[in-house]
């Protein structure tokens, strides 16, 4: 794998700002140009998404308000960034906030798991648009990538059609935790030569089908599935064997620890977008006991992964996203729970293209409203892509029609962009 360890000549010849400027000059920029796509892919930018499923409480994580009406029992602790405080439930993260930034003023105007998730992933409140992971895979994945472009390590299944109208090869491939994916071994009865001839025949039939007016997306989808399977079969070794004992001690021997170790392996071996889901934040009851447990597991494990990316030099070229579908209500219910809350909550970002150590936006004293720099999923979507050097104001070009990559009514959060 080619790592982006430093400042190479090509960076100056094709800088992000220069790229954006050229796009602006061109009026409607298209990222489908082979030259543009090649440059993005050559730089081997990656994305690590850590999705805290169910809606992590902002008050127990990135926006603590101890001693206030709805502050809850946890205290705030200082971080490695002077003046920045986060919850005491994140002591390891606190020591690494000079690598991360916080967005505290998110208002999605929805309290629905489904709607919040789609808004955060698609950057649109409604409609069928590709997830950020699929868009990043499309524009960042090298042509000869050794792994599928968008890998999701999760122990639970939600049905996601992440690529929407994009080619199926940019769709999310789910891995059921840190284990060898099922059916990776070719049946003994099928020789390697037979498998190759079978694939050749299939491609020929698909081409004929398309040529006779068949809907190309059907065959593309099948081809993409075969391509992904072939790539996984070729790198079955990445999933085999027990991780190193020292790594397990650092990351934790629980499923999330193993999943994050797999995420590191995938990123190190050519993964373009790797998402890891940590479940268990939908805390309508016992919010504080559960956040104690869940964030206790998340904090150290995530920080070990962050350290490894940083130590290897990969963090500079890897966008790191810690996010949910929404936050949790300031008001504490009668079961010591916090409910769904998309009105005023936070995420954390770091790595590629992100100004580290920043806090953008704020909520009021009790955390019931955004008081400064309100943003939503649309602004965040632009920001992720701009941080990766992808012009989010450009268009996907699809069979003769153009679709804006990001919501044209939203803009990136410039204060966050390095």
């Amino acid at each position: 794998m080619q790592r982006d360890h430093g400042c190479h000549r090509i960076d100056h010849e094709f800088s992000r700002r220069g790229f954006l400027a050229s796009g602006a000059l061109a009026g409607v920029a298209s990222l489908s140009s082979p030259t543009v796509a090649h440059e993005l892919q050559k730089k081997q930018k990656r994305v690590l998404q850590v999705y805290l499923q169910g809606g992590v409480s902002q008050l127990e994580s990135w926006d603590p308000k101890p001693g206030t009406r709805y502050g809850g029992p946890f205290r705030a602790i200082p971080t490695s960034v002077p003046g920045m405080h986060i919850s005491e439930l994140l002591p390891h993260s606190a020591q690494r906030m000079h690598l991360m930034s916080i967005v505290r003023g998110i208002n999605l105007k929805t309290n629905s798991h489904h709607d919040g998730r789609l808004f955060m992933e698609m950057g649109r409140r409604a409609g069928k648009f590709p997830y950020i992971g699929s868009v990043a895979a499309k524009y960042l994945m090298p042509e000869n990538a050794p792994l599928p472009g968008y890998l999701h390590v999760t122990t639970r299944g939600l049905t996601d059609f992440t690529n929407a109208f994009l080619d199926a090869r940019y769709g999310q491939l789910k891995l059921a935790g840190a284990q060898v994916p099922a059916n990776l071994i070719r049946p003994k009865a099928v020789t390697a030569d037979a498998a190759r001839r079978s694939r050749t025949l299939l491609k020929r039939l698909n081409t004929r089908f398309s040529g006779r007016g068949g809907q190309k997306s059907f065959t593309d989808s099948y081809n993409a599935s075969f391509e992904m399977a072939e790539k996984l079969m070729a790198r079955r070794d990445l999933f085999e064997g027990e991780p190193d004992g020292k790594d397990l001690d650092r990351y934790g021997r629980h499923p999330f620890g193993r999943n994050c170790l797999l995420a590191r392996t995938l990123l190190e071996n050519g993964g373009t977008v790797v998402k890891v889901t940590h479940h268990g934040y939908d805390t309508h009851a016992e919010n504080f006991n559960f956040h104690l447990e869940q964030l206790g597991e998340f904090d150290k494990t995530f920080c070990m992964l962050l350290d490894d990316l940083n130590d290897s030099g990969m963090l500079d070229s890897t966008l790191v996203m810690i996010y949910s579908e929404f936050g949790r209500t300031p008001k504490i219910n009668v079961r010591y729970g916090r409910d769904h809350w998309g009105t005023a909550w936070s995420i954390a970002l770091g790595g590629q293209g992100i100004t580290p150590g920043a806090i953008v936006g704020a909520t009021n004293k009790d955390g019931t409203e955004v008081s400064e720099r309100e943003v939503d999923g649309g602004h965040l979507f632009h920001t992720y892509l701009q941080a990766l050097g992808i012009d989010s104001t450009a268009y996907h070009t699809l069979d003769g029609r153009s679709v804006p990559i990001g919501d044209p009514t939203r803009q990136p959060i410039q204060e966050l962009l390095a």
Binding site: G54, P73, R75, D282, H284, F290, I332, V334
Partner: protein, 356 residues
């Protein structure tokens, strides 16, 4: 083991008690006549716990903020005093047997030691007791020791005269939620998140018996999380029984879908004598042995006081509260109870017919 003598602090100045309200102490306990005699409120903040001091003069409560509130049990509301000292929620209280000292266990890892009857009590000491929340504290029968448990999975024993650490008890693998002294003063009982009950010898520090009340724990398969633990725990005055308040039948831990349960154990035989399940959604947060030989429990979010006979399976009476009952305590004479509620009220109820 030579237990230290009971604490003999300087006598704090005792303020004159408000006597503008009558002490409601009519004779004749009849729980079917239970009624509210007084309501204290706490500034629109739900309560977490409460206790009545051993002399019956004071009632204290904590809330979803960092304060402790004190009233004369006889009222009025305006006699409220706020005790500042913790930096997080307080979940557990106890007292010295003479009622002079209030102890508070907080989620700021500390135990507060307060001269209860001072006009404006200030903490004599804020003792850093555990790494993580102090979940429970309990005074020994003679008052010389205080037991605590916390999120470091440890039980600790403190000398109430010097506040030196006497002994550490290791063995719980998950958070111990509560610890209590057996009335003989020689043993502790503790209950953890997973429903593990341990009996400890306070001299050797060793576990002498252990049980698993798995029916008071559940693993939420969907969210992969454990739900369980004691929300209150009490020995009967004769030490024959242990009662534990908590939950059972967890189906969705994150939505609070489980049922209240009180476990009644025969401590001599170790038998689970009664599993007193309530057929409604919620949690049993409080449990007490009434001097007249029945059990009183409180629960939320439904807001109920339940009354069981020791040989009964169903409550022989239920009293509806105005809000969820998170904790309860009995007055020394057994005629009244204080209930810390989710609707920001500390209700004083009386187990008798209304006064004429």
């Amino acid at each position: 083991m030579n237990l230290p003598p009971p604490q003999t602090p300087q006598d704090p100045p005792v303020p004159p008690l408000p006597r503008d309200l009558p002490r409601d102490l009519p004779p004749g306990i009849n729980v079917t006549k239970t009624h509210v005699v007084r309501t204290f409120s706490i500034d629109d903040v739900p309560l977490t716990t409460c206790r009545i001091d051993p002399t019956g003069e004071w009632v204290v409560a904590a809330a979803e903020n960092f304060e402790i509130y004190r009233w004369p049990l006889a009222g009025p509301q305006s006699a409220r005093t706020i005790l500042h000292g913790h930096n997080s929620w307080v979940r557990s209280f106890d007292f010295s047997p003479d009622g002079r000292w209030l102890y508070s266990g907080g989620y700021d890892d500390r135990i507060g030691i307060w001269p209860l009857a001072d006009p404006q009590p200030a903490p004599e000491r804020m003792l850093v007791a555990h790494e993580g929340w102090v979940r429970w504290i309990r005074t020994s029968p003679d008052g010389s020791l205080l037991a605590s448990c916390g999120n470091d999975n440890l039980l600790k024993l403190w000398d109430t005269r010097t506040w030196e650490l006497v002994r550490v008890f290791e063995g719980h693998k998950r958070y111990p939620y509560a610890v209590v002294f057996h009335p003989d003063g020689k043993r502790l009982a503790s209950f953890d998140l997973m429903g593990v009950i341990k009996e400890w010898n306070i001299v050797s520090g060793k576990v002498t018996r252990q049980w698993e009340a798995k029916f008071m724990w559940g693993f939420d398969q969907k969210f992969r999380a454990d739900m369980g633990g004691a929300r209150d725990m009490r020995f009967s005055p004769d030490g024959k029984y242990l009662a534990v308040a908590g939950l059972t039948e967890v189906t969705n831990a994150f939505a609070g879908t489980h049922k209240p349960m009180v476990l009644l154990m025969d401590w001599e035989t170790g038998e689970f004598k009664k599993k007193l399940k309530i057929d409604s959604r919620g949690m049993a947060w409080g449990i007490r042995f009434h001097p007249e030989g029945f059990l009183v429990g409180s629960g939320a979010p439904s807001g109920s006081l339940w009354f069981w006979k020791l040989d009964g399976d169903k409550p022989f009476h239920t009293f509806k509260l105005s809000g969820g009952g998170r904790a309860l305590d009995l007055s020394p004479d057994g005629r009244q109870a204080a209930v810390a509620q989710t609707d920001c009220k500390l209700q004083i109820v009386q187990f008798t017919a209304k006064s004429a």
